[in-house]
C-alpha cells in the first residue's frame, strides 16, 4: 500500500544559518540649542505615545549626547515617524542600524 504522504517537513525548517535578520532602521532626533525641553517631551508623547518617564529620558539623552534613537523598526514606519517629528519641528533623520 502506498503511503499517504511521502514528504516530511524535514528540510522545510530553517536552520539558524538560513535565517537572515534584516537590520532595523533607527529614527534619530538631534539636539539644537533653541527647542525647549518640555516641547520635545510633548512631541514624543504625541507621536509615539510613550510614558512621561520614557519621553523625558529620551529628551535628556538628546540634550546631553546630541542625539538619541527614539524608535527602531522597518524602514517605512521609520520614515513615517521621522516625517511626523519634522512636521512637529524637530530635527530628525533615519539611519540603518549598525
Amino acid at each position: 500500500m502506498k503511503p499517504m504522504r511521502e514528504r516530511t517537513t524535514e528540510g522545510d525548517v530553517l536552520t539558524e544559518q538560513d535565517v537572515k535578520t534584516e537590520r532595523p532602521w533607527n529614527v534619530v532626533v538631534w539636539d539644537d540649542p533653541v527647542t525647549p525641553m518640555s516641547v520635545v517631551v510633548v512631541i514624543f508623547k504625541k507621536i509615539f505615545g510613550y510614558s512621561n518617564n520614557k519621553c523625558t529620558e529620551l529628551m535628556l539623552k538628546v540634550h546631553h549626547e546630541g542625539r538619541a534613537i527614539v524608535w527602531s523598526g522597518n524602514r517605512q514606519r521609520a520614515e513615517s515617524y521621522c516625517v511626523k517629528l519634522q512636521v512637529a519641528g524637530l530635527q530628525s533623520t533615519i539611519e540603518k542600524d549598525e
Partner: protein, 144 residues
C-alpha cells in the same frame, strides 16, 4: 501661577489663548512666514522645512517629502486661521505648537544659531523673537 500663563487648559477641555495684541502679532508673523516658506523655494526658511529624511540617500522618497509638505502647510494654515480665536481645541493647539516650533528652529537654522555660543551672541532683535516664541512654546506645552 495662572496669572502669567499665555495658554490655559480650561475645565471644558478647550485651551484659552491669553496673548495680547502684540503677542498675537508675533504669532501671526511666525505662522505667516511658515506658510510662505513652504510655498517659496527661495524663502530663507525653505531649506529647514525640507531637511533630509535619510541623509545617506541623494534624494528622499517623493511620497514622504510630499506628505511632510502637506502636513506642515495644513498645520501652518490652521494656526494662521485661528489667530484671532480666544479658545483652541486640541488639534488647533497642536497646529500652533508645531508651527511655532518650526518657526523657532527655522529662525535658528537661517541665522546660524546652532550652538549656545552663537545663540547668546545673536542680535537683540533676533533674540527677542527667539525668546518670545520659546515663551509661547513653554506655556503651550504645559497644556498639551
Amino acid at each position: 501661577m495662572v496669572g502669567n500663563r499665555l495658554f490655559v487648559r480650561r475645565r471644558d477641555g478647550r485651551i484659552e489663548v491669553r496673548l495680547n495684541e502684540a503677542g498675537r502679532e508675533v504669532a501671526k508673523e511666525a505662522f505667516g512666514r511658515v506658510v510662505a516658506a513652504e510655498r517659496d523655494p527661495t524663502h530663507e526658511w525653505h531649506a529647514s522645512l525640507n531637511a533630509p529624511i535619510d541623509p545617506s540617500e541623494d534624494d528622499d522618497s517623493p511620497l514622504a517629502s510630499l506628505g511632510r509638505q502637506q502636513e506642515i502647510s495644513t498645520n501652518a494654515e490652521l494656526a494662521y486661521m485661528t489667530l484671532g480665536e480666544q479658545f483652541l481645541n486640541d488639534a488647533e493647539a497642536w497646529a500652533w505648537l508645531s508651527t511655532l516650533q518650526i518657526a523657532l528652529r527655522s529662525t535658528a537654522v537661517a541665522n546660524g544659531l546652532l550652538t549656545e555660543e552663537k545663540l547668546t551672541s545673536a542680535e537683540p532683535e533676533l533674540m527677542t523673537f527667539v525668546r518670545t516664541i520659546q515663551h509661547f512654546l513653554f506655556s503651550l506645552a504645559e497644556c498639551l
